[in-house]
């Protein structure tokens, strides 16, 4: 569509990039149909096309963000369903990234919002702080209902609801070092420990290490890596996001130099989407652009990597799995075939819930910051999943696991936990099926 940026505005590489993205949009409106917030709220301002227009208007006029614009940008889940739908290839992800940075730089949020966001950014990416917070949350649980009625404390009440009943101690899977292949060595990978996932469900990376080493892969957990930066990135806190990216790029570049890497394995698709974007995020940093691009090229979701290993086809099991494709998996990374193919090959009966393209409402910290829309989407997602009458739900992202688990009694596991079980590992504790 038409744009009216001045040459001076286009001298800023971020503006130039956004202009190129906007020029691809022909305003056809297809994106509205698969946008979870448009489907829920029925207002074009809460659709990708509406947000694209709001962003264009704000950037073209060189205007600071204001409450009206921020409200609708904040409601975007960044599920990227629109990018799967868009026929003209509008790179909505990088456009909204730019808008969020612009908002963070030009808009002063109300005190409560600033406080909540500062707490999330200061706690979630740090496993020891997050573990401590979750333990404290258990004590705070009885007060959740009361807190949700007090506007200032509402967000914290929502967080208490999401906190798990038990908090595991620090997992051995995050201890830096090499886990050697248990069979004839056929590859070497680094495994991202991540931040929130090993605290909430350490079993995911434990299963990944067991499975990969059993398949003949050396698994390196490099010292010094941390949160991928997605959480602050989606808040528009760009310097913090880039600092997280640079730190991880340094760590993995060393691992590449030291012993070579076939892949950097990620078991949370939300992180995968961000790490695959490091090359883009650091493209303007001459010291990092090349290294970051190499890291992004090596980044693989665990199912993406496993599907290159030719796992044997197993006898059918009498276990029906509803596969929930995380948005960051199907839209962010466009991985749609590998996880289901692996589960089927491992003998599971795989069902596709209806409206699989719609987000479950987790979306990073969205379920904390936008609890009403998130709850509506969760209910819709759970209804569609339960309609397939599965024994188990499988997915590839910790956020979805946490979100969906609070809405259904059906056990939900990471795909790799099921694969580890099928290929010789122990049966996950969550599964209680008589067969």
């Amino acid at each position: 569509m038409q744009t009216t940026f001045t040459a001076a505005q286009l001298a800023d590489p971020h503006v130039a990039e956004s202009e190129a993205i906007l020029r691809k949009c022909v305003h056809c409106g297809f994106c509205t149909a698969t946008c979870p917030t448009y489907v829920t709220l029925g207002n074009e301002l809460d659709s990708p096309r509406g947000r694209i227009y709001l962003i264009k208007d704000m950037l073209e006029n060189g205007r600071a963000a204001d409450e009206e614009v921020v409200t609708h940008i904040d409601r975007c889940l960044s599920c990227l369903a629109c990018t799967t739908t868009c026929p003209s290839g509008v790179d909505y992800m990088h456009l909204i990234d730019h808008a969020r940075i612009h908002i963070e730089q030009t808009y002063r949020r109300p005190l409560k919002d600033r406080f909540v966001r500062a707490v999330l950014a200061a706690v979630l990416p740090y496993p020891s702080r997050f573990r401590l917070a979750l333990r404290a949350a258990r004590l705070g649980r009885p007060f959740a209902g009361m807190m949700k009625r007090v506007p200032l404390l509402k967000t914290f009440g929502v967080m208490l609801d999401l906190a798990p009943d038990t908090v595991a101690p620090a997992s051995d899977s995050t201890r830096p070092g090499n886990r050697p292949a248990q069979t004839a060595r056929r590859g070497r990978v680094a495994l991202l420990s991540g931040c929130a996932q090993p605290v909430l469900k350490p079993g995911i990376n434990e299963a990944t290490i067991r499975l990969l080493t059993r398949l003949g892969i050396d698994v390196e957990v490099p010292a010094g890596e941390g949160c991928c930066g997605a959480l602050v990135h989606h808040m528009g806190r760009e310097e913090e996001a880039l600092a997280a990216a640079r730190r991880n790029v340094d760590v993995w570049t060393k691992a590449i130099t030291d012993g070579g890497l076939d892949a950097i394995i990620i078991t949370a698709s939300g992180c995968g989407t961000t790490i695959k974007d490091y090359g883009h995020m650091l493209r303007l940093d001459p010291g990092y652009a090349e290294k970051a691009a190499r890291v992004s090229a090596l980044a693989k979701d665990v199912t993406e990597y496993l599907s290159t290993l030719d796992l044997p086809r197993l006898e059918p099991k009498r276990v029906t799995v509803a596969y929930h494709s995380a948005c960051s998996m199907q839209h962010g990374q466009k991985i749609t075939v590998a996880p289901k193919a692996l589960l089927k090959a491992a003998g599971f009966t795989v069902r596709d819930p209806a409206e699989g393209h719609l987000c479950c409402g987790s979306a990073g910290t969205y379920n904390i910051l936008q609890p009403e829309i998130s709850a509506t989407l969760k209910a819709r997602k759970v209804k569609n999943i339960e309609a397939t009458r599965p024994d188990i739900i499988a997915t590839g992202n910790i956020g979805c696991i946490t979100q969906i688990a609070t809405g259904t009694a059906i056990p939900i596991l990471h795909t790799v936990e099921l694969l580890d079980w099928a290929y010789g590992g122990e049966k996950p504790a969550e599964i209680d099926i008589a067969n």
Binding site: G29, F30, N43, E44, L45, D66, S88
Partner: protein
């Protein structure tokens, strides 16, 4: 170069009362159902005909028919123009507002109210998307037949407004042939029901009048549509040709011989390249023109019909024949075709024509279209419903270059006049909207337009309903 198409000048009496109007509308609507902040209004300034834009006065997003009626009653009371909007996918600017207009968006009316298999009908709210209807009944073996390429997003209310067609309308007819009834709000807030679940209604065919009236006779809030049983099987087959004229002549002979497949879609080389880049459907890349011919029914029926079509295609020098081998492949073939307009955005801005011509004229009109566009220094991609003779030349241009944009508009006008002169009409399915309004004088004599405007005025004596559209501004009755 053509002048930009003019909208009615905004009424000062309305603009001056803006704050009062917004405040009154807020009283008529629930919280979250009115957009009135200046920033929030900008995204409603256009639809998919992006060359024209006007920020509206306010946007009402009612949740019930009663709220639609309340807003209309209020607006007619003060002579405030009203522009209805479904999903805003109009290619003729049907949903583009004007500065003094209240947009009534039907996007919150998105529930399927009743599915009645005994009578093979579905009753849905106007904001339900076209595809949602088919999806809701698919597991039970039914579908809603008209399938505009924007069916993923466009609403049934908008389909009724434009009497939309689609690829499969060759066999099943367009919206008006599949619509049984509507609930509709008149300009003064009166709620009426037209039609029923039965195929025929007594009296004048007002439903036929409403379908295709572009939001000028009232606002439809509910629709009852026919459901069709899915065929036993369906197979799209690709036929590649070394010239557009050969493909066009082949279409004319298929239809002329009495064979009616479900769909015959045409793409020329630029369109094939655009669609393949998005859908990876396996279209042949070494041909100048491609027909997607879909046959359906039992295996024997499909084989028999295909044999007839193949024989005709060979007479026209078909160079590639490729049958889809799986449901996935068939879905990709249609995904590519139905995404063609949007996918064009990958290479250029475009305006999409919608002229319809007698089939015998297809080769001639295709050739002349190419000449018109070339003379003006532009490029064109052709992708359209060939079986219906409903052409969609996509004129490619650069919207950031005003001269290029004016040339594109000129080319569009010439092509549509060409269609009329060839015995066809200005619009097959996208509606007149703002885009073709001033060309109506090329299609109709003033006396014809006078009669149509008299009908329009019987429904909306104040001319507040989508008033800038369809009828040329000059020659209208004095308000």
């Amino acid at each position: 170069m053509p002048d930009k198409i003019a909208f009615l000048p905004p009424k000062k009496s309305v603009l001056d009362r803006r704050d009062i109007i917004v405040s009154d509308l807020a009283d008529l609507l629930p919280k979250g159902c009115l957009v009135s902040e200046p920033r929030g209004l900008v995204p409603f300034e256009t639809d998919a005909f992006i060359a024209y834009r006007n920020v509206p006065l306010a946007v009402a997003l009612p949740e019930t028919t009663a709220q639609v009626a309340a807003v209309l009653k209020y607006c007619s009371g003060y002579g405030i123009p009203v522009v209805p909007r479904g999903a805003g996918t109009s290619l003729s600017g049907g949903a583009i507002p004007q500065a003094d207009a209240v947009v009534i968006g039907l996007s919150k009316l998105s529930r399927i109210l009743d599915v009645d298999y005994a009578n093979r009908t579905a009753t849905v709210q106007a904001g339900v998307t076209n595809l949602n209807i088919s999806e809701a009944v698919s597991a039970d073996g039914y579908f809603y037949a008209p399938d505009p390429s924007s069916q993923l997003a466009c609403t049934i209310g908008g389909n009724i407004g434009m009497n939309s067609g689609g690829a499969h309308c060759l066999k099943y007819g367009v919206t008006t042939n599949n619509l049984l009834g509507v609930k509709m709000v008149l300009f003064d807030g009166t709620i009426i029901d037209l039609g029923s679940k039965a195929l025929d209604a007594p009296g004048l065919d007002l439903l036929g009048l409403v379908c295709g009236s572009e939001g000028q006779l009232g606002i439809v809030t509910e629709a009852t549509v026919r459901l069709i049983a899915k065929p036993e099987g369906a197979r799209p087959v690709l036929f590649g040709f070394q010239s557009s004229e050969a493909a066009g002549a082949c279409v004319a002979e298929i239809i002329g011989s009495g064979i009616i497949p479900v769909a015959i879609e045409f793409m020329d080389r630029p369109a094939i390249e655009i669609c393949e880049a998005f859908a990876h459907a396996g279209y042949p890349m070494d041909v100048e023109a491609l027909l997607i011919v879909e046959v359906e029914g039992s295996e024997a029926e499909m084989d028999a019909m295909l044999a007839g079509i193949i024989a005709i295609a060979r007479r026209h020098g078909v160079s590639t024949i490729k049958e889809s081998q799986s449901a996935t492949e068939a879905a990709l073939i249609w995904k590519g075709r139905k995404s063609a307009f949007g996918a064009t955005g990958r290479i250029a801005d475009y305006i999409c024509m919608d002229g319809t011509v007698p089939l015998s004229q297809l080769p001639y009109v295709l050739k002349k279209t190419g000449e018109i566009v070339a003379r003006l220094g532009l490029r064109v991609a052709n992708v359209f419903h060939a079986g219906d003779g409903n052409m969609h030349p996509l004129i490619l241009y650069n919207i950031n270059d005003p001269e290029d944009a004016a040339r594109a508009e000129e080319a569009g006008n010439e092509i549509l006049k060409l269609c009329v002169d060839a015995g066809g009409c200005l619009t097959g399915e996208h509606g007149v909207g703002i885009e073709k309004r001033d060309l109506m004088l090329h299609q109709f004599a003033p006396v014809d337009l006078d009669q149509q405007m008299a009908v329009r005025a019987a429904f909306d004596p104040q001319w507040i309903m989508n008033p800038s559209k369809v009828f040329p501004l000059e020659g209208r009755p004095a308000a």
